[in-house]
Assembly symmetry: C2
Homo-oligomer: 173 residues x 2
């Protein structure tokens, strides 16, 4: 009964709790909290940063539980395919809808009906609320990739609710 | 792979994030944040209160997904048995180990190996850390009971890690 929805409920309430004391987010805030100057950090940005970092550590923890053979992926693309199929299925009971790449280290993962956006009412007026339901998952992807040996920057964008795109840019060291 | 552990990872990291900026909890803090005077609230108590309230809303949301016939329990004891068996199994993949009552509205639910305490190292020196891993679940029980029409006060205590007891005191209106 509860197992499949428990994670989603906890995520929803964690977001609600973070924003409970900061009810008026400014418009135009990106889901990618890094790169902001500390002095310019708003409550909204702080909250997104908290969610991203919680997501990162959960992603790392999930990555560490992978069977050893999965940690030996040779191709970057194989790792991304694994995230889109197996990881997404395990977390959200569905696969990512599409995966595209420019073959130069940038990947776009599209989910046409992202479960963590479903609690939001559909409608253009809610679009600016979307980043707070995406920050955790950006972190989760970044954390899982990190455990698999890939440093990345992950951002998210929404065109039409409840669909969204995650952009993964691999950082070559 | 991930579904069963995802909730536990997210809970662990939510606790870690809350305490990341408050690393020195005072000793002797109860898992029951209510009844404190606001002026006396420490960061520790604030965090426990946040966890309890997030747990409460998750418990409510879980309760609202129950089949309609479950919402028609006639006996208080049946509701508590349901929490100990079905709810616990759905959340933690195990049942509560024992349920006792004084038949006057007080119930003691004992879990001899509570999953959310397992990440903690065993040892007496960690006992004072335990409340932060119990507050969310106190709230969750209180929220589920609330949806089932029962007002309660839920507290938790630890005698020997990773075992714990939840005490539910029914509030007669």
């Amino acid at each position: 009964m509860a197992d499949a929805v428990l994670f989603e409920f906890l995520h929803t309430e964690m977001v609600a709790e973070l924003w409970a004391h900061d009810p008026d987010p400014g418009p135009g805030v990106s889901a990618e909290p890094r790169g902001e100057e500390p002095g310019a950090a708003t409550g909204q940005n702080m909250n997104l940063s908290v969610l991203e970092s919680v997501g990162f550590r959960v992603g790392q923890a999930l990555g560490e539980r992978l069977p050893r053979e999965m940690l030996a992926f040779r191709e970057e693309l194989d790792v991304l395919k694994f995230l889109c199929k197996d990881l997404w299925l395990a977390i959200f009971q569905k696969q990512m809808d599409s995966l595209r790449t420019n073959h130069q280290g940038t990947y776009v993962l599209q989910d046409n009906s992202f479960p963590l956006l479903l609690p939001m009412a559909a409608g253009l007026q809610y679009l600016e609320e979307a980043p707070k339901f995406l920050a955790f998952t950006c972190g989760l992807l970044r954390g899982a990739l990190c455990t698999l040996g890939i440093e990345s920057v992950v951002t998210a964008s929404v065109a039409a609710l409840p669909g969204c795109k995650f952009q993964v840019v691999i950082q070559n060291s």
